[in-house]
């Protein structure tokens, strides 16, 4: 079902770096879990609408009013690295 290549692709999408052991482990564990989940295929849901929200809520809005901003020191208080009032990150490419 799930192949090692699948696991590597998914890991990249999720920005996770897996070592050899983890790749093995996830290939096995995810495979088992997904088999379990393929049980759902037994059910005929062709006429069944999906429930994305259990609540019948719709059109929840706020007014276009400006509220308080976070003071810049609090914005950056948890920053692992900063320069002035910017967040600093390593090169992108």
């Amino acid at each position: 079902m799930i192949t090692r290549a699948d696991v590597e692709y998914v890991a990249l999408l999720a920005r996770l770096e897996l070592n050899e052991e983890e790749k093995e482990l996830y290939t096995r564990q995810l495979g088992k879990i997904l088999e379990y989940a393929s049980i759902l295929q037994q059910l005929d849901t062709s006429e069944v609408p999906p429930t994305a929200h259990v609540l019948p809520l719709q059109n929840v809005f706020r007014e276009d009013r400006v509220g308080e901003d976070l003071p810049v020191e609090e914005v950056l208080a948890n920053a692992p690295d900063r320069e002035g009032n910017y967040f600093k990150v390593p090169r992108i490419i």
């Binding site: 998914v10 996770l16 059910l43 429930t51 914005v75 692992p80 992108i92």
Partner: protein, 487 residues
């Protein structure tokens, strides 16, 4: 019994009658923490000084004749995935080990307005993913009734703290049973309100369409009091339901004659521990004797709840946890060559194994080519599961089941087999999928270990749940029992 072993409503009486001060209550709790915390390890952060300050403030107000809310001065422990401004909030993850939120969750603001005394932040399974608190990125919590056993999860720290008197009550979060199951394992009351009844603003998201914050308390009366504080519409949460919430204490009545209680036959199937089965049967007897009508019912799609949950929850989680990347807060890997490397190393080192597993599963379920077969399919089955409950509730007012198939298991017993661990939630998962309210109440003991029974209600029927739970509690004495704590 010490002060810290009493429920809030009794302490409130003592407080109002000046028999005891808020500071004394707080000291009692802090002393208990000193005594047993090294065994239970229920907390990630305890701020005793701040708590005493808050308690003294309440005492001062009382002295000046102020009319204070019912839970004023009561120590509360808050699960560490609920943001507390200025107080470290880690979600029991290395990736947020030093994160200090610059804002309060809405429920925390409500607690502050209710003059609560915040004792600290409790341990949990990392990012609420787990059923035993063994997935905490820091250390496991132990069950106060038997330190070789798990307290349940993911709100294990909150449940253990309440059971051990390390707090008077606590807040937890429930996505698939994370309040109810640990409440059952630790012999306390735990309620998951209807989805949308309590604001999620400030609750670090795991699965957005399933998460709810709820109370863990020593008894049903306290549960109603806490619900009064935390329930309510919040304009900052688009999924929070508008409208006034009732005064939940009005439902604390003992008369349940004519109440129709249904027991889903699928929940009594094989695999159920015989001791747990016995507890449930005894509970039925108590309820029948009280005049309720108890009968069997069916939730035909019960077997599909677990796979449905384990596709929807990880899918939403994989997206909710994408923000933990080391850029703006939390742990950041240093030895990196570029931003992509930083993302990968930060997340791989910062997240534990179970979190990574669920992120992988969720990412896969949403990825191109699989969305229809997995995620969308799960959303459709969810409709079927919800319909099962709707049908059952045309004939019954409340459903009843064991909270968990077994009592608390041993530390390490299930941690190596994720599927086995997932099965401990089979009675609680469907309720989150359907968005219904449910409460776990101490239902009995098996070999000295607490066993919980779960009442499930219609949407916004927290009142009915409190009613039947109160009636049940008054006819049994389980909520007055306390663990020995090895003292």
């Amino acid at each position: 019994m010490q002060l810290c072993d009493l429920p809030a409503h009794e302490l409130a009486k003592l407080l109002r009658n000046r028999k005891v001060s808020a500071e004394e209550i707080c000291r009692s709790v802090l002393q208990r923490i000193d005594e047993v915390e090294k065994k239970t390890k229920a907390f990630i952060t305890v701020d005793g000084e701040k708590a005493l300050e808050q308690a003294r403030r309440v005492d001062k107000k009382l002295k000046n004749g102020a009319n204070l809310p019912p839970l004023a001065g009561m120590p509360v422990a808050i699960k560490d995935n609920i943001c507390t401004k200025g107080l470290r909030t880690t979600c029991a993850s290395k990736i947020l080990a030093n994160f200090v939120p610059p804002y309060n969750a809405t429920v925390v603001e409500k607690l502050a307005a209710a003059e609560a005394v915040i004792i600290g932040k409790t341990n949990m399974d990392e990012f609420a993913m787990g059923s035993s608190t063994e997935n905490s990125g820091f250390f496991p919590t132990r069950n106060p009734w038997d330190y070789s056993r798990v307290p349940g999860g993911s709100s294990g720290g909150s449940a253990a703290a309440v059971a051990a008197g390390e707090s008077i009550y606590a807040l937890g979060s429930d996505t698939g049973g994370s309040i109810r199951q640990p409440a059952a394992f630790c012999g306390v009351v735990g309620m998951k309100p209807t989805y949308g009844a309590v604001s999620r603003y400030g609750l670090v998201a795991f699965a957005s369409s399933l998460d709810q914050i709820g109370p863990l308390t020593k008894d049903v009366t306290d549960c109603a009091l806490v619900l009064n504080v935390i329930a309510g519409h919040d304009p900052r949460d688009s999924t929070s339901v508008p409208g006034e919430r009732p005064d939940y204490t009005q439902f604390l009545k003992e008369d349940i004659r004519g109440l129709r209680i249904g027991i889903p036959r699928e929940y009594l199937a094989e695999g159920l521990d015989s001791g747990v089965r016995e507890v449930l049967e005894k509970a039925c007897a108590v309820l029948k004797e009280a005049g309720a009508e108890v009968a069997e019912t069916s939730l035909p799609h019960s077997a599909y709840a677990l796979p449905t949950y384990y596709l929807i929850a990880p899918a939403e989680a994989s997206s909710n946890l994408a923000r933990y990347d080391g850029v703006r807060y939390g742990y950041r890997a240093e030895d990196v060559k570029d931003v992509l490397d930083m993302f990968k190393k930060t997340r791989s080192r910062g997240f534990g194994a179970e979190v990574k597993r669920r992120i992988m599963l969720g990412t896969y379920a949403l990825s191109a080519g699989y969305y229809d077969a997995y995620y969308l399919k799960a959303l459709q089955v969810r409709t079927l599961i919800k319909r099962d409950f709707d049908t059952a509730f045309t004939k019954f007012d409340v459903l009843l089941s064991p909270t968990s198939p077994t009592p608390a298991f041993l530390l390490g017993e299930k941690i190596d087999d994720p599927l086995k661990m997932y099965l401990s939630d089979i009675f609680t998962l469907a309720i989150n999928l359907a968005g219904l309210p449910a409460v776990s109440v101490p239902g009995g003991f098996v070999d000295g270990l607490p066993v919980g029974v779960q009442f499930i209600g219609k949407p916004f029927a927290e009142g009915t749940l409190l009613h039947v739970a109160y009636a049940f509690e008054k006819r049994t004495e389980y909520t007055s029992r306390r663990p020995g704590l090895g003292r």
